[in-house]
């Protein structure tokens, strides 16, 4: 089974019915899959913090949701994640490409690679790195941890996971 198909399947197990997304090239195939699922309301946004706020609003309508964005986009919305989601203890589950990793040889991702984890630790946002297809069965655990901890939870997808060994 394709990695994005497995992630999609696990999100369905979580009860996700809304996906707010802004693509980078690593998560674009997953976004296409979610968009094609008629049971999931797909909300493409113009800025990542919109996705965070949309999923926060959906929470109060009793709808489970997911934000799908790139790492650079995550850094653009840490203020909203802190002042909306931390402040009001609103869970928001984010799937994010782990850009800037040692195998991501893009000069414009290098700061993200060095500073994202320390930044999340400073904010006390929990996160988990998904690196192998067999780990994806733990997505529902991560989703439940997000609900239980009542704050943003970042599920990172590695290049190895989404691009394969030899890309």
């Amino acid at each position: 089974m394709d990695v994005n198909e497995r992630i999609h399947e696990e999100l369905v197990k979580c009860g996700v019915r809304l996906a707010a997304t802004l693509p980078d090239d690593w998560v674009a195939p997953l976004i296409r899959r979610l968009s094609a699922d008629p049971s999931i309301r797909h909300v493409p946004v113009a800025r990542e913090a919109e996705a965070v706020a949309i999923c926060s609003g959906a929470f109060f309508g009793g709808v489970r949701s997911v934000v799908v964005i790139g790492n650079t986009g995550l850094l653009t919305c840490t203020g909203e994640l802190a002042t909306l989601n931390l402040r009001h203890q609103i869970p928001v589950f984010c799937i994010v490409s782990q850009r800037g990793s040692i195998d991501d040889h893009r000069i414009y991702q290098e700061v993200q690679g060095r500073r994202t984890f320390p930044l999340l630790q400073t904010y006390d946002f929990p996160y988990h790195v998904f690196d192998r297809p067999e780990d994806l069965v733990h997505i529902p655990h991560a989703y439940e941890a997000c609900r239980l901890q009542k704050r943003p939870f970042i599920a990172f997808l590695t290049r190895h996971l989404v691009k394969g060994e030899h890309s």
Binding site: L18, A20, R41, V43, P44, V45, A46, R47, A49, E50, A51, V52, A53, I54, C55, S56, G57, A58, F59, F60, G61, G62, V63, S65, G79, E80, A82, T83, L84, R87, H88, Q89, I90, P91, R147, L148, K150
Partner: protein, 200 residues
């Protein structure tokens, strides 16, 4: 017209709408006018009340959702108009309190003060029903139609800037308590489940 007068008219026509308020003056005035717990008063994420309201409206397609935005907040996230237009929720009504200043900080002027037509921006973004209302009589006449017509709609409330700081106190609860009061109010009213059996 004064902000408080305008919001009192909105409150009278609200019906069973769930309301999301941008942080600052509009939220404080809505609390003063309604004391309503089935309203969410943003305490952060300036600019994103409209996005929050969009998510709520999509999750509750049979419940009217109003967002009381402010000009300063709207301008922090004009892209929300594109997303709102693309999703086109029939139950979402977007109001913007436009006083051309950052009232909460004592009336500092808005960027491009008086030079922007927010209703035209919303129309250009693809929101079909937009209007600007400048006095209480027009607001009284227009609101029944705004409330009953399908959304998304976008209404600018042109209000007077106040001089200096407004003394209207904010709502008397905050943070997690606001989450639980709002969520529990929606659970009771709509029969939905927001929180699980253990309360989170």
């Amino acid at each position: 017209m004064k902000t408080r007068e305008a919001l009192e008219v909105l409150a009278a026509h609200r019906g069973d709408a769930a309301v999301v308020c941008a942080l600052g003056m509009a939220a404080n005035e809505w609390w003063a006018a309604t004391k309503s717990e089935d309203s969410f008063y943003m305490h952060g994420a300036m600019g994103f009340a409209a996005s929050f309201a969009l998510g709520l409206a999509l999750a509750l397609p049979n419940t009217p959702v109003w967002v009381l935005n402010a000009d300063g907040s709207l301008c922090m996230n004009l892209g929300c108009l594109l997303t709102e237009a693309a999703q086109a929720p029939r139950n979402l009504k977007h109001f913007v309190v436009d006083n051309r200043v950052y009232q909460t900080v004592g009336g500092m002027p808005m960027v491009n003060q008086g030079g922007a037509d927010y209703a035209a921006l919303a129309q250009a973004a693809g929101i079909p029903r937009t209007r600007t209302i400048e006095n209480i009589a027009d607001l009284e006449r227009a609101l029944p139609g705004i409330a009953s017509q399908p959304g998304p709609s976008f209404t600018v409330l042109r209000v007077e800037a106040e001089s200096g700081f407004l003394g209207t106190p904010p709502m008397t609860y905050e943070g997690p308590e606001m989450k639980y009061r709002f969520g529990r109010a929606l659970e009771r009213r709509l029969g939905i489940t927001v929180f699980g059996p253990q309360g989170y």
